[in-house]
């Protein structure tokens, strides 16, 4: 346990020290939120309707963008070799690094999204459901991203391949995330079942992602 904590602590320190971590992630997020009304037109009512979906897409892309390097650096500088030799199973290493990614990159975004929502006319009643759904969904996003990051770790330009591999897995998260983010009363009450499904996805990826990621990492260390 203390080993996991040591690893999480280190990854958080690195995230905050290199390139600003949270700050730049938020910045990207902000900018996407700004681009959307420019690209899609300034119609107020329309924006309000599109807001939750747009925020979710921005979240997805931001996580994806920051994720492709979860393991990259440790792979390149040999740290991953030593971790693979060390006392902790590689599955736990993968889990710890995914958790660190969630704490440093996804969670801050999930917290900020509802607040940024006002920029694109988010319905105030939708703030709470959106925050909840994003909190849960971001867990799944970070964990799934860790699979993609592991699968592409040995590739120089994995950045785009990781998107291609992981976005399909993100589609269900997006579907249920958006449907769980509607303001209460805005439609039939599908928020609760969607939230449940989101939780299920988060749990499933909590179990499966470390296994898949560790297997992928091992094949690159070979």
């Amino acid at each position: 346990m203390s080993l996991i904590l040591a690893l999480i602590r280190r990854d958080l320190t690195l995230a905050f020290r290199q390139g600003g971590g949270v700050g730049t992630a938020l910045g990207f997020f902000l900018t996407v939120v700004v681009l959307l009304p420019i690209g899609l037109g300034p119609d107020q009512a329309l924006l309000q309707r599109l807001a939750p979906g747009a925020l979710w897409i921005a979240l997805l892309l931001a996580v994806l963008l920051s994720a492709d390097r979860i393991f990259q650096q440790d792979y390149e500088d040999g740290s991953l070799d030593i971790m693979a030799m060390g006392p902790m199973p590689l599955e736990l290493v993968a889990l710890a690094k995914a958790i660190a990614h969630w704490l440093a990159s996804s969670l801050p975004l999930a917290v900020a999204a509802p607040l940024l929502g006002f920029l694109i006319n988010l319905d105030p009643a939708a703030i709470l459901p959106l925050a909840l759904a994003m909190g849960l969904g971001s867990v799944a996003l970070s964990l799934l991203a860790s699979i993609g990051a592991a699968v592409t770790v040995g590739l120089r330009r994995g950045g785009l391949l990781v998107s291609l591999l992981i976005l399909p897995l993100y589609v269900p998260v997006l579907i249920f995330g958006v449907s769980a983010s509607t303001a209460p009363g805005a439609g039939p009450d599908i928020a609760t079942p969607s939230l449940l499904i989101l939780s299920a996805m988060a749990l499933a990826s909590l179990v499966l992602s470390p296994l898949a990621a560790a297997a992928a990492l091992r094949s690159y260390l070979k």
Binding site: V151, L164, L165, L169, I175, A212
Partner: protein, 240 residues
Amino acid sequence: MQTLANPARFVGLANAVLPFVWVATIILFAIGLYGAIVTSPPDYQQGETVRIMFVHVPAAWLALMVYTVMALASAVAIVFRHPLADVAAKTAAPIGATFTFLALATGSLWGKPMWGAWWVWDARLTSMFVLFLLYIGYMAVWQAIDEPHRAALVARIVALVGFVNIPIVKFSVTWWNSLHQPASVFRIDGPTIAPSMLWPLLVMGLAYTLLFLALHLVSIRAEVTARKIRQMRLAEIGER
């Protein structure tokens, strides 16, 4: 098992079987198309466009089946470390992607008269599109990693992780209300489709399956040969 384990033996076997598979494929296509075009009646709602079904539905079935084959082969590769299993998975992918594309294209052609749009983002169509992307991603992994050995290890994981999508495609029509037809052939309470349409459809399904088998055997054979050549070239460089 031991016979198949040897790639050279496999090539021999493939050479022996292939002519029969090709002949059977052609015969089944002939019968199936005859049933589809000549004997089956136009639909009372859809008219002649219903005949797209005989291309579309088997293609969609095969799209799902080939990915399943890929995932199974990958699982076999992980458990039994059988070198041919990776080759089988790798070579199935482009064929599966083609079937998926065919299902997408014909479905889209069919959608225009039926739903009034080439494309709608409902659950079935979206998940099918995602399947297409997964095929592409899987092939990209093989392309991106130079070393076949390492590429195989990574590709297995991608195939298995992506398999999650297959039940989503299959049951999307049941789980979400969708514009798309619900299952009418493979359902627990039996098919709900007129027999005059059912038999050509099933024959076409069989024909597609055999076509896949033939194409798959051909490309496995080609891949085995390509690897042998690569091996020889590397050995040449390694000769010091």
